[in-house]
Symmetry: D2
Subunit: 377 residues, 4 copies
């Protein structure tokens, strides 16, 4: 008698229909009226657990940086809109995605350049990698950007970017949910009617007003679905990680990990994307776990490696790597003396909003993936 | 000088990079390191507005019914799991989707048959089309089903179905979000360890307790993310539409339209799927509008037509038709004496949860689509 | 050595300061600068548990009814505004409160009479006791009222009442939170500028549109802090109790108890007041428990008694009785063949909103209060 | 004919019933059955707008400080529990309230002293006025306190306080909602079974983990109804006010005003009490307005005055003053060179939770109260 064997398609309730000429003829008649027999695909569209079509992957900054700089000369801003070397998952050619439905790319900009203002139903964020003089304007609020600052340009907000003429070539990492929004057939795009949007507010008013610890301005409640705090500066962020590390052990899987939050809700900075920053103590080796959602990590500080689905990825500063949905992963700080810090962003808020978030510790081998499955990349 | 021309890719900010040998060589070098130049795809992945890959479509019940009945003889329940003639959008071959990422199919079951119990991260709903003796069990709560009842089998809830030996062949429409959940790489599936789940509660306790108007049991708050009211019976639903129609004009676009709601939150019945029922008065012709999200309609009562992106679809009882995201649509009750009632389900809650819901009236031609664009289907 | 003896003021941490001439002189100097020594009142203002200043109490309808009818002749509507015999707790003379800070009274109105329209920051509700032809208008929405209907006239909503000329003398019970709102120094009152407010909507549109089971109109979300369903009719309410009783045992303390809810939130009908209706099966004797919050019960149907803090109160139809905060109470249906139904309203939403709601089963004597503490009233 | 004259009790709908012997006899009969005629009190219990029973008041620290220090010698901690000089509104003798239902007092503690641990349904907060070595422990989390730090000891959390043996005499201001909770008949009090609660966590872990700007730990969601951030340190708070003042004008009524918030919700630190800190620029004179709710201000820095219901109160550092509900108030920084900072706490969250919050600008005399109504206090 058949049993409820988890994970095998011979289990009761799974489809196992042998092909016969009669059935094949029936299937063709179904096709004629734009239908199909569920049992011919049921086991595929009802998988036992998520198997991502993306693979774990790491992009080295030392490889990407020259390509970004080259793009600045290869095409003019007016031709390209933006000069971005975008990351594409090796098993997802043509998807424009670095993992899952997340988009990420490294954007370069030379002093004196700026983009035109636009807005879209997709949400965007930036993590500054190098340079000086960068700024972004979001719905008229200008913020100045320095290396390792984190900035949001939310869905529906007018935004544009630039580098002041006195600055240096800047490179930052963009992250967007636009591929997901496209899959959901809900994307819109508009160019600002004035090309350059007005910026009537005092520069850096957003972090000035909303960047306090446990403090928000006592004004009418903020009603937009994203954070009024547009910039999360690196210095107070890193200081907080160090302070927290003095009083808190952190989590087994991620060390001293903080979520960048919307200060008026305590929730994710935008409805579809969330960002995190985590400190790994010298020599720390976190335990492995897996989560639904797709994850893009950027090394903010330090050197180490991450083991993702049994494969080891060594990383240094500004490298980018991705963890697909439900891939087992653990992180290692390779330094015996310095902390390491990872910035990451993810569509986990989508998982949570739709009731699809799951996480699971790796419960074999003491919580660490087996070494013999590791292959240095 | 270039202008911000909405909708044209010659607008400022859009990508317009001519091909050169140097650039093509650069693109190849990008490909070598799993990257690409954003500007080569930017205008595609940042569309001006949603253009669905699905087309409007109608399936006639008189065509589908014999195929469903045939399936009952063609394969045994133990082979197929379930015998379902599933709907596939003509321009989405291989997607298993009827529109967007929605799945729908017509399931048949003979008296005395039942499925094994299972659960998944996907959410399901059913609308009963014909037959008698059907029942479903959700987390141990059994409900009996009659024609035009609406039932939910939520994500993570154990569920199974059957038809009592004294009943008649039943056909119902299934609707699931599983294809979306698969796209999000977050689906899980489990067969119940006992194959048939226990049903310790009094039959129909869910609608008995939660099916009152403006009343919920005064017990500990329900904490699950879906409605504790599992069955929405047709008779009180239709009575309510008739009663409401006596005191309310309804909306211009949908007539007297009600959302089936979770009575403990007033929100959608499940986090990802919502269902509606709407009454069109005799001869009513609603104004046209468009919305993000995908929509599957089933004709519960009456005859008429819907005009979707300029194409006319005539419908009768139990026919199913779909409206893709952002497709302009309007409905017509063809009878001068009888009301018509449409049941529908949609992933609109996903749009709302992610801040992606938009709607727009059709503002030309007095709010009605031009007749010369209509083609009877 | 002193111990942490719960409930005794000799416990460590409680104040026990003997009087001395020096201390008394100090206290007088404190008084001179509008201060006092905390320890002189600490044990009073930090009680071990709530001891209500109100007592349990029952008012017989047969006593109140003639007084209400007499009031209709004693003063004219134009003099009194409204003719109401209001209930006052015996130990709270001068408070105008029937229990806690709740107001309740029986209002009479003769055919052809009506009140002027007004609104206030206090919330009001009504339970119809007898008569015909009564109506209320809330923000322009008129509803017709019959015996045992429950109606809300929320804070800030314009409202007025009347009895049609063809009707019969009506008596209904009013319940308000106005004494609490006064204690909070937050009450406002306005007379409608037109004395009689316009009623542009179709009569009974509110219950017509919002009175369906698990259905709400698919229109823009209702944004007011109270229920759009203004009237909860008796017939479907009682039917639901009977239906639920067939599939649900109910709670040990309250039988088959339902909360009247705002259908768009599933929460209390108004932010400060909630109402319930509960069916006691023939001969049912509920277990005792206690809760924070004040409770006013009206007997909608049947005969029985309630035991409140050891005192027995026998009740019949239309009698009103009160349970003070943290008073132990249990209910008994005295009939062996008929069910009994209690309507009640309470400020429990205030308790919940402020994090002050507590409840506790009575855990002695098998959950029932000792008989020898009972005294028939 | 009578008109709807706002604010006058001759308006239609208000009660105006002349006394007659017959009516007086009727009233006596009502009293006999614990009832009264609504119209005899209606105009009192339905006021046109809030008229607080409290008066504006200021307590000078230079007067209170010696009295607090004297209390440390007058009674032992073991006798008094705590040595507190509590503030009582002059028109509310016997209420123990400084304004509305708010309690506040100045508590003194000598080095080496500590209280026993307890908890209650009332919520408490502290603002440190002077001294060194103070600490508080809340549910096992110890925090060290310095002058002008703000600390919460929430409802239901075990808490105790002390001053280390190496410290100096400390004075802080306590604020509690206990009088309101008593009015609501919902207070509970417990002494910790171990008298001194264990403190297993690293000292200052709460501010260390939760005190970052726009950052919260990425752990399981905090589920308690109060802030996990227990201490709001003065230095980063003041720095934020100064930073915000550089980019933000502030509000017309309160200058650069920040709410201390629960970082995981963005809401008030506790369900019933909220706290604010506001910077007044040199010579700033805010416009007048009024709000429901009761307000207690403590001068954290600087000198100036506030005009409350036409009465002027001059203040200096550590003075405490109160604004009753609906009292018109405006603030003045008397210094031409230094900023002034006010700390305040309020039951405004109660007003908001119950839908009773209102505010209104003072719209006469250019928004400032008339000088001739001012009397220096």
């Amino acid at each position: 008698m058949k049993q409820a064997v988890v994970g095998e398609d011979t289990a009761i309730g799974r489809a196992n229909v042998a092909s016969t000429p009669e059935r094949e003829a029936y299937y063709r008649r179904l096709t004629d009226v734009s239908t199909y027999a569920l049992w011919t695909v049921a086991n595929v569209i009802e998988p036992w657990f998520p198997r991502s079509t993306s693979v774990p992957m790491l992009w080295r900054y030392e490889e990407l940086r020259p390509l970004v700089l080259e793009s600045l000369k290869l095409v003019r801003p007016s031709e390209a809109g933006r000069r971005v070397v975008a990351l594409e998952n090796p098993t997802r050619k043509g998807s424009s995605a670095c993992v899952g439905w997340l988009y990420s790319g490294l954007q370069g900009m030379s002093p004196g350049e700026s983009t035109s203002a636009h807005r879209h139903a997709a949400a965007a964020l930036r993590f500054i990698l190098e340079g000086s003089g960068a700024y972004t304007v979001v719905d008229g609020h200008k913020v100045h950007l320095k290396a390792r600052d984190f900035i949001i340009t939310p869905a529906t907000a007018w935004h544009d970017h630039g580098v002041s003429a006195e600055g240096q070539v800047c490179i930052w990492q963009d992250g967007l949910d636009m591929l997901l929004v496209n899959q959901l057939e809900a994307n819109f795009y508009e160019v600002h009617p004035d090309i350059v949007q007005p910026a009537p507010y005092v520069a850096n008013d957003s972090p000035g007003i909303y960047g306090g610890p446990g403090l928000i301005p006592a004004i009418e409640p903020w009603s937009k679905p994203y954070s009024p705090l547009l910039k999360y500066e690196w210095n107070p962020t890193y200081e907080r990680l160090v302070t927290a590390a003095e009083v808190w052990e952190g989590t087994p899987f991620d060390g001293v990990i903080m979520q960048y939050v919307n200060p008026v809700t305590g929730g994710s900075v935008m409805p579809t994307l969330s960002a995190y920053v985590q400190l790994l103590r010298p020599n720390q080796h976190t335990k492995a776990h897996r989560q639904t959602g797709s994850y893009v990590y950027t090394v903010a500080k330090g050197e180490g490696c991450s083991i993702i689905d049994g494969q080891r990825f060594d990383w240094g500063e500004k490298d980018v790597f991705v963890v697909p949905s439900w891939a087992v992963h653990e992180h290692v700080n390779a330094s015996a003396s310095e902390d390491a810090v990872l910035f990451s962003f993810t569509d986990q808020p989508v998982m949570r909003a739709l009731g699809l978030y799951r996480e699971q510790p790796f419960d074999m081998n003491g919580g660490f993936q087996s070494l013999d499955r590791q292959n240095q990349v």
